[in-house]
Subunit: 245 residues, 6 copies
């Protein structure tokens, strides 16, 4: 996209969609950039489906990942810096005339800060609508019933998505089970993984020796495609409704 297309898209009242990821450990078999790769893929698919009613903004490759810092290679922003980045992207887009911005984050660690940014924007940019969404949670309907008791980071669903989107980046031979049941955890970690509140965040090195929650070895590209298709349909549907609202 050049500045010419950007000018036209801003005037046309399109939505800008920003992919946000993380640069953090994803176990022995998946790349540090896994969350960005998934977010960018979903954003491209959503945009394609919306045929000119949405455009892709610049990515945010690093997110809020302090809980993974014990694993080599993880790079994190503080929540305040991540917030500043999002806010300044949005402010720049707002100057060009866009009034609807959507962030798609492949990393759940960004969710809270995205919510907080959305709150502050209500005051600073009252004429702007800011939305955000995670990826995997949109696919609950197609998730297998027999997921391991503990699952999530670098587990069945994330691995499946990568096997579909970028199989060449997955070291299939290195995929290995992480923590799969609550009784593998110490009592504090178990408390942290309970459903519901209170919330008790802890570091991932206390949750899993290899950084994985769940069993990536059972992931298939077919599940990945199913997840991605569901997520893309969900987001594209939302954007269409939003533009029509």
């Amino acid at each position: 996209m050049t500045t010419l297309e950007a000018g036209r898209a801003a005037s046309a009242g399109t939505v800008v969609i920003i992919p946000a990821g993380a640069f953090e450990q994803h176990g022995p078999g998946m790349p540090l950039a896994t969350d960005l790769i998934r977010a960018e893929h979903v954003v491209e698919q959503v945009t394609a489906r919306l045929g000119g009613r949405a455009v892709v903004g610049p990515s945010i490759p690093v997110g809020v990942s302090p809980h993974h810092l014990a694993f080599a290679g993880t790079v994190t922003l503080s929540t305040s810096t991540f917030a500043a980045v999002v806010r300044e992207y949005v402010d720049s887009l707002h100057r060009h005339g866009w009034r609807k911005v959507l962030v798609v984050t492949g990393h759940g660690g960004n969710n809270a800060t995205l919510t907080a940014v959305g709150q502050d924007l209500l005051t600073s940019h009252p004429d702007l609508q800011f939305a955000w969404t995670p990826v995997t949670p949109l696919a609950r309907a197609v998730m297998p019933a027999d997921l391991s008791e503990v699952h999530g980071h670098s587990g069945e669903a994330e691995t499946a998505q990568m096997l579909h989107i970028a199989p060449e980046l997955v070291h299939r031979d290195r995929l290995e089970k992480g923590t799969t049941s609550l009784d593998e955890l110490d009592p504090v970690a178990r408390l942290s993984r309970r459903d519901g509140h209170p919330s008790l965040p802890i570091r991932y090195d206390r949750l899993s020796a290899n950084g994985v929650l769940g069993d990536p070895t059972v992931a298939t590209p077919e599940l990945g495609q199913s997840i991605v298709d569901t997520v893309v349909a969900g987001i594209a549907g939302f954007v269409a409704d939003w533009l029509a609202a």
Copy 2:
């Protein structure tokens, strides 16, 4: 509590529980301080039940409420200032030796920033465990089945709690229905209140003319007591497990 008791409590490995509220419109019938009043009541009950294993820290009377600013009297902190306040409370308590801090927030607008603070504390205070919890969501089990389609702020559950805790502060004659069904909303507001993601935060003056979501006129003190008891039991149980972990 004097400094003497504080010294003993810190040495004894107790949990500090901090009530957080909001100072924001709660419709024509309930006080601006509603969320703090509920949080402080719950914290007192929890602490009483834990018999010396937990102590009450200083309150945070104002939270993150930019979405209510169109209604007179609402006072809000930015998300970064609210985060700084929480962080500095925690840092002070950490200096005295406490290693477990729990924030009980009566206001859902604080949730995201509490999550973000918890993330940053993983790096800055690795030997501290920080937990937080909302109030009403812990009482799902006792919530009536026939809640209005749209409900929440100043609605059935919050009003019931206030009728139980501080009936003298509720103007019962002024309680009146707010928005109770999605079809009262404009399309953007409707999208904002859908379940699930993407999230699209909007200001409350777009959601409700009187600032109320749901129907406070059907609230009863009995429901309030039931909610409070459930919440108190849930939090006290968590803290007991936490201390034993």
Copy 3:
């Protein structure tokens, strides 16, 4: 106060009065919240006396107390966070139409930051008038002539106020003399307590073993009442003049 009363009060040109305290050691006999309790009591009395011309804003329970951190239980904000809290309270009130805000601080450690906030508001909110006042210094006229040479924190005057306002929170049996004469102090501490300038702030653990300056055992509720009445009259008089100006 609900949002309805707030709306009326803002339109009527009332003053908002905000009580500010501290959460810090007050010796073996008085609660950590002593300064907030005194400030809130004074504010209630002042507001009552002004009959609708002033309203009470949300409290600030924690102030600037780094000098007390050596004593267990003290919670402090940095000066910049305390300033942000005050500024954001004021900014919210300003949005609703209030143009006169008064902070009553029970804790002298907040004075400097309140002054600094007042300076910055001259530029950021030129149409707002911001005033602040301490509590005890307004009562000089009724202070006993025979105060100990060193007195102040948790001493005669503060204890007397608490015996008047909240006697049930004072452990009278634990009240004990603190530092009462300059020759009990080391030379640096002595220099720090001299009258006049230069100012040399030091930590309270260097000023007093039990955190007390002066002799709380001679305090009486009668002195407390006298102090409170004088302070309330002084502040109410100021507000009346201010509104008439």
Copy 4:
């Protein structure tokens, strides 16, 4: 002073004295830099008198002067930036081994922020002693009894000091009375100039048409010398006591 002398002075346990001023209107007859000129002069005299036990640090030429911004030429720092400057000067000196730093401010608008910085340093630099002092208030003993009812900024005392220190920078022909009595003020301004608390800061364009409080035309260099001598003796005495403590 070169780095060699600095190294010796730091090892010798000297005090560093930092002059702080303001760059703000001083009426039609005195320079914008008046407060810095007076502070630097006092610091030089104090240091000379202390003969090697104190050294002069870098100046801070601009202070906290938002109340003078309506008058051309005034340059101000926000309180947070002024605080950062002081803190970073102190932190640098602390790295070289100094443990006693004194700021001499010719401008009263800096007092609150200097106090706040001193509070924060108690936590961040517990082994450092930080003192600060204004200039003119140290000379109460020699101040004429017949000062005008309203006096202060660019009035009798400041002008006298400048006539003594830097007469070539004073436009004597332009010196003219400013506000000298309370009844020249509007009611809000009068309230702001009352003795005692509450404090109500206002802008100087509301206090005086020419920016002057008091009557500079009666100032004499003799009074200036007397003020300066008293101030220098006061500060030098303090520093000597401090070093001996």
Copy 5:
């Protein structure tokens, strides 16, 4: 790269190389992401050439571009947020053991902030070596002698690089001359483009109607390859020397 490779690379004393770009107008013919694309390409080539002695860190897709904000699509960070991003990337890498980090920026607007970050890191991370480099300036030796008098942004050299690296993203039919001689500029803009100091930064909409400086129509992929090869050789040589030092 997974966390396993990251762990090995950190232990092996490798250099991390971070590509930084901009998301800003590049005239009618080149994409907004031009500077990131060039930086990433150069970093990949450099890393390939260094065979395991360097690894690629996460990109920074948005830089400091306020001077391009008048052109649609430009997204900018403030200098302080860009600095925070770089600092937090570096701090994360430092935690894993890396001690040499190099940023390759395709956008000159980032140079000053990268320099400033490097200064602050001397104090905060004294055991880390931080280097940075622009791209095009390293290729002076191969630059044509007959460049237009005014050239630079989106001109001959940048366009040539894009024709070599990503020709499918260049709209060759839209490439058009921008400002090519000083006499097309107004006097302030001319002063701004003089060689040497003083520096007078101005916005690009004052420098060029189409956002281009120079003549992209004469650019060839051969020149692009020559520039890229020279830049890659220069950086790889530096890194090799650095590792050997």
Copy 6:
């Protein structure tokens, strides 16, 4: 300059010139304030030459000098605080009506932050023109051909300027060679002093045992005068062109 002259100068469309220095080691023979002294001298000369078309603003005596902190007496600001100081000076001047501000920095460590401030001002103060310049680099034309291979800080050119401007502050007997050739440096330091990019900033204690780069013993006041005259002519010429533009 009083507020009267300031008012006239602002209305007349003059340029404000701000001298910026550093407070840092300048070897055994030159004062810590060397860079400020040189900047102030140049600014006075430039202003004199411009005869009323420019006025002198307040100085910035301390700059960005973390690389000199190993040498006693060096005081540094962080880059963000230095930026805030410059920005707030400029903002104050802008309020009075000035639209052209020039900073003359005697210290190269300030260059990057001045550039960054200039970038941010393009957005925050679009109607202001902000320029900055170093001192010595403007005098390339008169620099001796036989400078030592390594030269710069406290070397031939800076010492010559001081011998011309303030010979009484130079300890000529203590002037001594610093590092003069690359082969005196360790490999990392040598890499850091290469011409061109990548840039690798390091601390000065790694570059020189006595803090000097070059040979100050050969400096002469004649060279100093020649440098100063050239710099003054360059800046005055720029300002004249700027005002005429």
